[in-house]
């Protein structure tokens, strides 16, 4: 048989593509439920680590999540709770959510009660890094101002550079930073080592060598926390009472 005849080549390529495609499709279908479950568990884990809770093992993540995250909330731009059915905040797809006009955006909040009885509010953030999306969860104390903890994740940032936003050394910088200065939402900026913010707001140090990713974190914080302004102010006035 002539291996270099046109018909052999075309047949060979066609059979190969169909075969490989079928195998890949089959594997994808067969593994999809397990993968989805893993991804959901990973999200739960990220939310929990924003409030410094770690599940004893991977299997305990759903139970631990149920225990600490007591309520899912959706709020509107005026800070009113519009929905508080179980799982409503968890079901929000942040990527699609951010594409909507600002007025129609869903604002998910996870209410969390820790072992010592203190209440934290966890807000999801989503933005762009250098190579792909970055996202995270920012936990606020019930004063609606100071950050209790933050957790960031990424899809494809450079290992050793941008990927270091997932490390504790970067994330712990956000702890105890204040979003509001003199009653104004200043947010937390990410700036080069040794620099300061010009508007007097709190800041953290960027990762050297990962300028774009660090900037992405800063922009993400600005964009995603701004719509919560009214909600945060409500928390502030509640604690003052």
């Amino acid at each position: 048989m002539n291996k270099n005849s046109n018909s052999y080549q075309i047949l060979y390529a066609a059979v190969m593509v169909v075969l490989v495609g079928a195998v890949l499709a089959f594997i994808y279908m067969a593994l999809k439920p397990r993968q989805d479950e893993n991804i959901a568990n990973d999200t739960r884990n990220q939310i929990l680590s924003a409030v410094h809770v770690t599940a004893p093992s991977e299997r305990d993540i759903p139970a631990t999540y149920e225990k600490y995250i007591t309520q899912d909330l959706l709020v509107d731009a005026e800070g009113n709770v519009t929905d508080s059915t179980a799982g409503c905040a968890f079901a929000v797809n942040m990527k699609k959510n951010l594409k909507r006009p600002e007025a129609e955006r869903l604002l998910p909040v996870f209410r969390c009660v820790l072992d010592d009885g203190s209440v934290k509010y966890i807000v999801p953030v989503y933005g762009a890094g250098l190579w792909g999306p970055i996202w995270g969860y920012v936990a606020l104390n019930d004063d609606g101002n100071s950050i209790f903890g933050a957790n960031f994740s990424h899809e494809s940032e450079t290992p050793g550079l941008g990927a270091r936003i997932t490390e504790a050394a970067f994330q712990s910088q956000f702890e105890n930073k204040q979003l509001y200065k003199e009653g104004e939402l200043k947010n937390v900026a990410v700036v080069k080592n040794g620099q300061k913010t010009t508007d007097g707001g709190d800041y953290v140090n960027a990762i050297s060598g990962a300028t774009i990713t660090s900037r992405g974190v800063g922009t993400m914080m600005q964009q995603c926390l701004k719509p919560y302004d009214a909600f945060f102010r409500k928390l502030q006035s509640e604690t003052e009472k």
Binding site: Y8, Y12, L31, D42, P159, G160, S208
Partner: protein
């Protein structure tokens, strides 16, 4: 099992025929993943696995592949293999798959893979091809680890994430070299390794 020829396939790539130092393959990924030691090791292991198995598969079907479309066939095999590995990792070991996510793409574009498939697997039986894959993967990993060790040590003062340069050095004016973190230093480090390697292996020197 290990005839003389097979031994050569397995051990030559470690030094005399090293994919990075002598064949100058896989430079791009050497540059990308050697900022710190841990990703370099993970990348090395994944390349060994994918290289060995794609070598075996190509070697099995080598007599049926039409020469005119062989590159496409190789690419499909490598890409399919990498995706299968990734899917299984996401389903069964999510933590590892998260660490590997970026490398998966880098493995497909790694020129060592295509280079070895072209040069070895297409003309040899599956068992020697398997050994060749393991050997070249190891040869690649060794260089990655050496480069990453120096870049992490001098660039961040750590090894595998542990601080090794004591604090008093910093107090006496020592500073981490920011240049080591940037890509050019990977090339310069590789060049230094090639220099040392050629100086020690006279037969590799070109006139």
């Amino acid at each position: 099992m290990l005839s003389k020829k097979n031994k050569e396939a397995l051990f030559n790539p470690l030094s005399k025929d090293n994919p990075v130092l002598v064949q100058i393959l896989g430079i791009c990924s050497t540059l990308a993943v050697t900022v710190s030691l841990e990703p370099a090791i993970v990348m090395g292991i994944s390349v060994i696995a994918v290289l060995a198995f794609s070598n075996v598969i190509i070697s099995f079907i080598r007599n049926t592949i039409p020469t005119t479309i062989r590159i496409i066939v190789q690419l499909v095999v490598v890409a399919a293999l990498v995706i299968v590995v990734q899917q299984f990792l996401v389903a069964f070991d999510y933590e590892v798959s998260k660490q590997l996510s970026v490398f998966i793409g880098l493995i497909i574009t790694n020129c060592i893979l295509m280079g070895r498939l072209e040069a070895f697997a297409l003309n040899n039986k599956p068992w020697p091809s398997f050994l060749d894959g393991i050997g070249n993967g190891l040869g690649y990993m060794i260089i990655l680890v050496i480069v990453a060790f120096f870049r992490e040590l001098l660039g961040s003062g750590t090894v595998l994430g542990f601080q090794v340069i004591p604090q008093w050095c910093y107090e006496h004016g020592y500073e981490n070299n920011g240049l080591m973190i940037l890509p050019p230093m990977a090339l310069i480090t590789v060049a230094c390794i090639i220099w040392v390697h050629r100086a020690r292996n006279k037969e590799l020197q070109e006139a």
